[in-house]
């Protein structure tokens, strides 16, 4: 099977600070890949590099057979990589419905947007997606008035309605209630039927419950990959986490 995403020897250098020091990552279709690791390990930076928000100093990012390392962000998105940010990033002064209208798959050039009208088909797709996120009844509300969890879902919905081939999720369950977390976890594998997912998560209970493939990062490098059980047996991983625990500055539950 051809990989969706291949990162090869990706280096990011912020004025002398090496946030990523040669990261390799390969993700296949329908995969849900968890990225874990202590704070500052470079997980979010890696997502930023994939979606073009941060430029790799060296190395290559391949999306199917396209080199996207130097592509502008909006083109990367149009090719099929969607990104959900850590804190909910939605348009507070547009309604839920209008938020979806901007997100739905469409020609995003100025001249077509100038003429664009919501079609019935678009409305059907939008309604179906909102129904799935449990937000259909809220569609006429301003997005800024939603609860934190609802905003998170709205943003996820806005990514899914683009029908991406790769979805990047940065701590999607942060600030969600236990029930909301559970629903999100179940979605993850539903989503994976249509696209590959890379998810950064700190909550180890959540990772244990919903992960298949886990990549552990530490100090800008990939430490190891495997199932959560394999990863937890790994000597290096134990060192990294236990070392932290001894210093009592990071409690991960591992």
């Amino acid at each position: 099977m051809k990989p969706v995403l291949m990162c090869r020897d990706v280096i990011v250098d912020f004025d002398g600070f090496r946030a990523l020091q040669g990261v390799d990552l390969t993700v296949y279709p329908h995969e849900v890949r968890f990225l874990i690791g202590p704070n500052g390990a470079g997980k979010t930076t890696l997502l930023d590099v994939i979606c073009g928000r941060t430029r790799a100093t060296d190395g290559r990012v391949m999306f199917f057979s396209h080199d996207i390392t130097k592509q502008p962000e909006y083109e990367i998105v149009q090719m099929g990589i969607a990104r959900k940010f850590q804190s909910p990033s939605i348009f507070p002064f547009l309604t839920v419905w209008e938020n979806m209208e901007l997100a739905i798959r469409q020609d995003r050039r100025l001249r077509s947007v100038l003429r664009a009208k919501r079609t019935e088909k678009e409305e059907e797709i939008m309604a179906a997606q909102l129904e799935r996120m449990g937000l259909l009844d809220e569609r006429h509300r301003l997005a800024g008035t939603l609860s934190h969890g609802q905003k998170q879902w709205l943003e996820i919905g806005m990514q899914l309605i683009q029908r991406p081939q790769l979805l990047l999720l940065d701590e999607p369950i942060a600030g969600m209630s236990a029930a909301e977390r559970e629903r999100t976890g179940e979605w993850l594998h539903e989503i994976a039927e249509h696209c590959a997912v890379i998810i950064v998560e700190h909550d180890m209970d959540f990772v244990r419950r919903y992960s298949k493939q886990v990549t552990v990062m530490h100090e800008g490098k990939v430490l190891c990959e495997g199932s959560i059980d394999e990863v937890q047996q790994n000597e290096q991983v134990i060192d990294v986490y236990l070392g932290r625990r001894k210093n009592a500055c990071y409690v991960s539950g591992m």
């Binding site: 909006y74 990104r83 990033s89 209008e98 901007l102 664009a116 806005m158």
Partner: protein, 352 residues
């Protein structure tokens, strides 16, 4: 919504009929204010909708006005060299003045030049993701550069005095009341057309993209839109509006000078829109008319107080009515609707 549309019709009808109920003097003032209202619509588009604060719209207004004024000056000179050039010792008409003897060229340039300058400035700044205060300062720097240039190049621009002493437009005397009324109507029509165009733009999907850029530009980018294109488009469009306004202004006022496109007028333009309510196109129009009416009244009677009052008013608006006149109107409507619903509920309870 239906009521609102009737309101707009009424508003523009009242403006259109103004020659029948205003004195010549008041009408000429109103005509001038309507030109400024056209600028305000553009500022509402870029500032209220897209979140770009330009402190340099005086330049686009001024460029439009100068283009028109060059034609008027040439027509007034009747084939001779314009008077100020002679005084500066210029022997021959500079090459770039020549095309302006054709009115159509002058009108096209009055729209195209400001648009082009705005597109250039905004493309390079927005492409490099220069935003917020930095963009505002940059737009202001452009004002300083252009005003200095226009004052310095006296033999080409008339210097501090600007361009004035016009006589006719298309052969019609500018001092005749009938010409002035026709020009007033032309201004009203332009304002109405620009208002309708801006409303259509903002009520469609483009309007949503603009608001989205204002509130979360990064999210827009990561939905696959290229915000730079949208921002350059809106910014240039607002400059085009300002250019049209400038051309209409100079026809009615008969004078354009660097002082009228400088920093103070540029900031005043933003103030009208702030007072009227920057999120509302109609608010911006009303703001421009109200503020300029207040200005001409106060500066007729208390010339020293005007600037102080203007400053105080701005502080009050920013602190207490951030949504301006339009915001006050909207909350009044909301209260009325609520009260009406309350009555209906009571009535229903009574029946049952």
């Amino acid at each position: 919504m239906v009521n609102q549309r009737w309101g707009y019709w009424l508003f523009f009808a009242a403006l259109f009929l103004a020659p029948f109920y205003l004195t010549e003097f008041r009408l000429s003032l109103l005509g001038k204010f309507l030109c400024l209202a056209i600028v305000a619509v553009g500022i509402s588009l870029i500032w209220g909708y897209t979140g770009i604060l330009s402190l340099g719209h005086g330049v686009y207004f001024g460029l439009g006005a100068y283009c028109m004024a060059m034609y008027l000056k040439l027509e007034a000179s009747r084939g001779h060299l314009p008077d100020f050039m002679e005084w500066s010792g210029v022997r021959e008409l500079p090459w770039f003045w020549k095309p302006f003897s054709y009115p159509m060229v002058a009108i096209a340039a009055a729209i195209a030049l400001p648009t082009l300058l705005a597109a250039l400035l905004s493309y390079f700044t927005f492409k490099n993701r220069i935003k917020g205060v930095y963009f505002s300062l940059l737009s202001q720097a452009v004002v300083v550069v252009l005003v200095t240039l226009f004052i310095g190049k006296q033999e080409w621009t008339g210097g501090t005095n600007g361009l004035t002493n016009f006589s006719t437009v298309f052969g019609f005397s500018l001092s005749s009341p009938l010409t002035q009324i026709v020009l007033y109507w032309l201004t009203t029509i332009c304002l109405a057309l620009i208002f309708v165009a801006a409303r259509r733009l903002t009520s469609g999907r483009l309007g949503k993209v603009l608001i989205a850029i204002r509130d979360a530009e990064n999210r827009v980018r990561f939905l696959g839109f290229n915000p730079t294109v949208y921002k350059v488009f809106v910014y240039s469009l607002s400059a085009a509006f300002a250019g049209v306004a400038g051309a209409l202004f100079v026809l009615q006022v008969g004078l354009i000078s660097p002082e009228m496109m400088g920093i103070i007028p540029s900031i005043e333009m933003v103030l009208w829109v702030a007072v009227g309510g920057r999120h509302s196109l109609m608010g911006a129009i009303v703001g421009a008319i109200v503020m300029n009416t207040a200005k001409s009244f106060l500066s007729e009677n208390y010339p020293d107080l005007w600037l102080l009052l203007l400053g105080a008013l701005f502080v009050v608006v920013v602190l207490f009515v951030p949504k301006g006149l339009a915001g006050i109107y909207e909350s009044l409507v909301a209260v009325r609707i609520k009260a009406k619903r309350g009555h209906e509920r009571e009535a229903r309870v009574d029946v049952s």
